[in-house]
Symmetry: C2
Subunit: 166 residues, 2 copies
């Protein structure tokens, strides 16, 4: 990447359990992710469900997904688990949160969206921060779009750009 040298060293990794982006969110997720890439290195990883997911109990499925996630995490990743029992942030609050991670030389923030039945407790324990987007429950696909838009918004807030106004 030509301008890699000019990017801050922190990376955002968006992880989502399940299927590829559905058509109704794909264009938005891709657009906001592209915009984020002008501020930070960024990637998406879709963590596939186990092959026999349909035959597994909800609990076993979550556990299996959790094991994969824990294996894939690097030791110094800062893990943000999107979880409805977590703490809500304002958009400015998210911006400050990201700035704080950059200030402490975090290499990578992993934003994790769980599967249909949520995130396994072992992963929740590993999480450095549990973030609730809202009291509302959103479909996991829509969370991808909301998340990428909010992280983009946070980037513009940190740079004092005019995308965000209240």
């Amino acid at each position: 990447m030509v301008n890699a040298l000019f990017l801050p060293s922190m990376r955002f990794s968006f992880w989502s359990v399940g299927k590829n982006h559905e058509a109704y969110v794909k264009a938005g997720v891709e657009e906001f992710t592209y915009r984020i890439s002008k501020y930070y290195k960024v990637d998406w990883t879709i963590i596939p469900q186990p092959k026999n997911a349909g035959m597994m109990s909800e609990m076993d499925l979550k556990k299996k997904e959790g094991e994969t996630i824990l294996q894939w995490l690097e030791k110094d990743d800062y893990l943000v688990a999107l979880d409805e029992r977590g703490k809500q942030l304002s958009s400015e609050g998210l911006a400050s949160f990201i700035q704080a991670r950059a200030n402490e030389s975090t290499k990578r923030i992993v934003f994790l969206i769980g599967g249909a039945f949520g995130i396994d407790d072992a992963v929740i324990k590993r999480a450095n921060f549990k973030w609730s987007l809202s009291q509302l429950v959103f479909p996991h696909q829509l969370v991808r779009l909301i998340l990428s838009e909010q992280v983009y918004r946070a980037c513009t807030i940190l740079k004092n750009e005019k995308y965000h106004h209240k």
Copy 2:
């Protein structure tokens, strides 16, 4: 509409100030609105900005938009203004809220998404309920998608259907 006789008499009207649905939300808004139409009568109205909007101050623009909205409202419309200073609801809370309106024979719930600078105070005063989706600020286009998905979700909760699980 063939099955109109079987629909409850309450209607949902989604009003949004600004432009037509942007490509990145259009498919989702249309899909969820179509799904809602199996439970309630539903329509979208895009309230255009005044022609000389670019020349107007933020305050004048809000006021002008507000006048249009107040003119368009029927006396017995139940107006829900989406406003970040409002009260948050859970998805189940929204379902109960809709049920409560149906129980009191509300003819129409108007869900209003304001323009880029929010909703004029005169309209906020007219609102029967001020609803905040989240502490986060979302773009107005994305709010259309979140709103239609949540109202659809509420319909499925009221019918005890399996779309929603926690």
